[in-house]
Amino acid sequence: MSTKRPLEAPSSKSGNDRSDSGAPLPWVEKYRPKSVDEVSYQEEVVNTLRASIERTGKTSTILAIGRQLYGDLFKSRVKELNASDERGINVVRTSIKAFAQVATSASTNASGKTIPPYKLIILDEADAMTQDAQAALRRTMETYSKTTRFCLICNYVSRIIEPLASRCAKFRFKSLTQESMEERIKYICDKEGIRFTQELGNGLSQVSGGDLRRAINLLQSAHSMYKEDTNAAALFEVAGKVPEQVVEGLIEAAQSNSFDTLESAVTETIANGYPASQIVSQLFDVITDGPLRDLQKAKIAEVLASSDKALQEGADEFLQLMNVFSVVMQEASR
């Protein structure tokens, strides 16, 4: 979910570097906003708790804020810890405390900007921290509020323990709208020399489901494989989606009411390497929009759900697909 980024890399780069496509840096990092101007929210940083649905720019926002606040001193004034770092109770007790304890004074930097007299600790994915660690954090937060401000980022506020949440000002990030996403995508396409079409935009929002990071990643992947031919179909392939024809073909086979036809269709699908889990989830969309009666849909949905779980647990794809489609066949023949 989060990306552990080498902090120094983006900060040392100025905006000009962006056009330098030679850098083997993922686009997500490359096009991460460098100042608050580039993100849509701009707030004073207090003890901040931000919650929203995944991948809507939380981390980007706070990092941009940090950069704007501290400029060159970003590195020394900001400590960022995410899920990939050790964040057990021991870390809270030692390294976070140690960082928070040291006071800093207000100063001005070379460009004459005032730098606030406090430091910033960003705890990304705070909801993944253990209860113990969170509990240990609340005292630290209060004690050192003079020298250090904390920013917690999480997907679900409910997973932050109540006492900790009450110590923070909460900001909720909404999912990015399609327009704002499209805008950003367009910007990136421009820079990278991809021809942006409406079809591409729609496709992107469809495969990414409002997740900008995923959208950018997909775009980059598609671009690296298809270059100038990057289009919606390429996006589908890159996103690991199964072409609609395949799912439809399977349903057709199920409707044929012949087990042999079904068997060979499923075998064919597996042979082509389409992941069963993907088929199951796409089948769900097809079935719910389909012409079947509600009870039939419910029955199919049930088997889809159990199959999905089974697949997660590592069950054999062939058998699970057979099971799913045999139920579809049963229902369709009624």
Binding site: D316, V327, M329
Partner: protein, 357 residues
């Protein structure tokens, strides 16, 4: 590579570069494009066994780093975990490392972390001359990694993105956790079609100076279930057995496939605890030969499906899926395999007695 170095055809005629790949040309072209760009994302190759994933990975590596990537050595590295040491084989060149972390079963997480850390931290020796500034880690059978290891992998992947790229290879993405999947560029490698296999077989035959009729090539391809590796191997085995080929030369299925078929016969002949005991010994035999239990279950189901009425098929499929799934969470495959057969026997008997009434 066509010179006779004593290897089997399947190894001797393995294409080594993207240019030589003649199956799935679309895919090959895309890979080519990707290799020419400077920025390589993490890759996830997926597709059934025998589709040519590994061959493609190798070809990609070659086109990335040139011929020097073919100079590989095998290391058998001992990794110490607590008190135990586990050995793992690592294939490496100066540009890449290949590991099959699922070999070590339970401790795969540690292995994944250790290896990638080690590689990522060591910058390529000839960093100046190489055109790429990163190393590549190829991990095979990622779908067999524990969830723990996959999560560890995801973090490691992000941490060392500057110095190394990962190429993951798996049979199916269903067992790969979502965060990992979304971090990679998925590359689907379907099985070659019968036609493609036939033509590959014939081109090998030509190079070897073997006379292979289209009909026989077709039959070999059919028998292999579109698995190219299997097709080439059985072609060579057939050639060794009898050459020149008889027009009606029998292409035998693998022993284990035959064995399962025989079991299906035995099951449909008689349904009783005694018969089940016989079936048990059969299952053990299969497992002794290290045939993965899910493949046993799958093949047995297919065989049994061919022996029952349509009415019963729904149930058979349902229970096969049921027991197979339970098997994945359990530790003793034999329980589940037998349980399925018992269930089948029960269903079959009930069905038969239903017919009589």
């Amino acid at each position: 590579m066509s010179k006779n170095d004593g290897t089997l055809w399947v190894d001797r005629y393995r294409p080594t570069s993207l240019e030589k790949l003649d199956i799935h040309t679309d895919l090959t072209n895309q890979l080519k494009k990707m290799c020419t760009s400077d920025n390589l994302p993490h890759l996830l190759f997926y597709g059934p066994s025998g589709a040519g994933k590994k061959t493609r990975v190798k070809a990609v590596l070659r086109s990335l780093f040139g011929a020097s990537v073919e100079k590989v050595k095998v290391e058998h590295k001992a990794i110490k975990i607590n008190t135990k040491t586990i050995e793992i084989s690592i294939v490496s060149s100066s540009h890449h490392v290949e590991v099959n972390p699922s070999d070590v079963e339970f401790q795969d997480r540690v292995v994944v972390q250790e290896i990638i850390k080690e590689i990522a931290q060591s910058v390529p020796l000839d960093a100046g001359t190489a055109q790429k500034s990163f190393k590549v880690v190829v991990l095979h059978e990622v779908d067999k990694l524990s969830k723990d290891a996959q999560h560890a992998l995801r973090r490691t992947m992000e941490k060392y993105v500057a110095t190394c790229r990962l190429i993951l290879v798996c049979n199916s993405t269903s067992k790969v956790i979502d965060p990992l999947r979304s971090r990679c560029l998925p590359v689907r490698v379907p099985l070659p079609t019968i036609k493609e296999i036939t033509s590959t077989l014939q081109s090998i035959a030509k190079k070897e100076g073997v006379n292979l009729s289209t009909d026989l090539a077709n039959r070999i391809a059919e028998q292999s279930g579109r698995n190219l590796r299997k097709a080439i191997l059985s072609f060579e085995a057939a050639k060794v057995k009898q050459y020149p080929f008889a027009p009606n030369q029998v292409i035998e299925r693998a022993d284990w496939e035959d064995f399962i078929k025989q079991m299906a016969d035995e099951i449909s002949q008689e349904q009783s605890p005694q018969r089940l005991q016989l079936i048990r010994s059969r299952f053990y035999e299969l497992l002794v030969h290290c045939i993965p239990p899910e493949i046993i279950m799958k093949n047995l189901t297919m065989e049994l499906l061919g022996r029952v009425d349509t009415e019963l098929k729904y149930d058979v499929v349902k229970w096969a899926a049921h027991y197979e799934q339970r098997m994945q969470t359990g530790s003793k495959p034999i329980f589940h395999l037998e349980a399925f057969v018992a269930k089948f026997m029960s269903l079959y008997k009930q069905f038969l007695s239903g017919l009589l009434e």
